[in-house]
Symmetry: C2
Subunit: 143 residues, 2 copies
């Protein structure tokens, strides 16, 4: 479903959302340990997220990563889309060229509803929503 890279990216973003701010930037080396992802790996994943405006960053001394209010308003799916590309989640379960309602593959009819639920969820849930859940004690870290 999600690539390893996407999972790592989500973990990093969530970690930043919870533990960083513009006044308290966090460096990659301080991200990698708590989320249990190799430093060089997560450093690379963060770049496209910064470029797409999902994460904020600052270079140089006292630099690091963080999320501002704007960043927090991105969906989980937007993270996945940046890392894995748009089509990974949307393509036919059986890898048919065109997955549609008219000529559904044998898995489509029964699975597409559940799958759509998942996709809608990923699309409609923002980073800030996950933050709330964690802060409310309904979801848990470390990741």
């Amino acid at each position: 479903m999600l690539s390893n890279s996407s999972k790592y990216a989500i973990k990093a973003v969530l970690f930043l959302a919870l533990n960083a701010s513009e006044k308290k930037k966090v460096m990659v080396k301080d991200i990698s340990k708590p989320i249990n992802v190799p430093q060089a790996y997560i450093a690379k994943l963060l770049q496209p997220l910064v470029k797409e405006g999902i994460v904020s960053s600052a270079r140089g001394p006292r630099g690091g990563f963080y999320l501002d209010e704007n960043n927090m308003n991105h969906s989980i799916m937007s993270i996945v889309n940046v890392i894995d590309g748009e089509k990974r989640l949307k393509s036919c379960l059986m890898s048919l060229k065109k997955c549609n309602e008219e000529k559904p593959c044998p898995l489509h009819n029964e699975l597409s509803a559940s799958r759509a639920q998942i996709l809608n969820n990923l699309k409609s849930r923002m980073i800030k929503d996950l933050v709330k859940e964690v802060e409310a004690g309904n979801a848990f870290l470390p990741l």
Copy 2:
């Protein structure tokens, strides 16, 4: 979600269910084209399926692959389990060591229900059920 190999395997099994029988065995070369999978590749995938009793086969002249009544009673998930291994579908969406209800990861609460639906579906739907759907015109091939 599903590996390429699993998708191919499902396609092959379904093709056999629809087009082969003990009296009318089908050779790999005649499977590979209609399901659009390289011959050597599908040949390899069929081996573990035969070994696990999901597909039947016979060697030598007039040999080939087919499904008997018994084979038809396997679930879609059993195919995936043979090809991808048990844990692929069941592991935590965030790849946490232990995915459980007590310490759910931030994606768990909202996604686990939909995910469970998919898994239950794959587990409870047998090959013969898919065959019926295709024969009834509710699902379509070629794959």
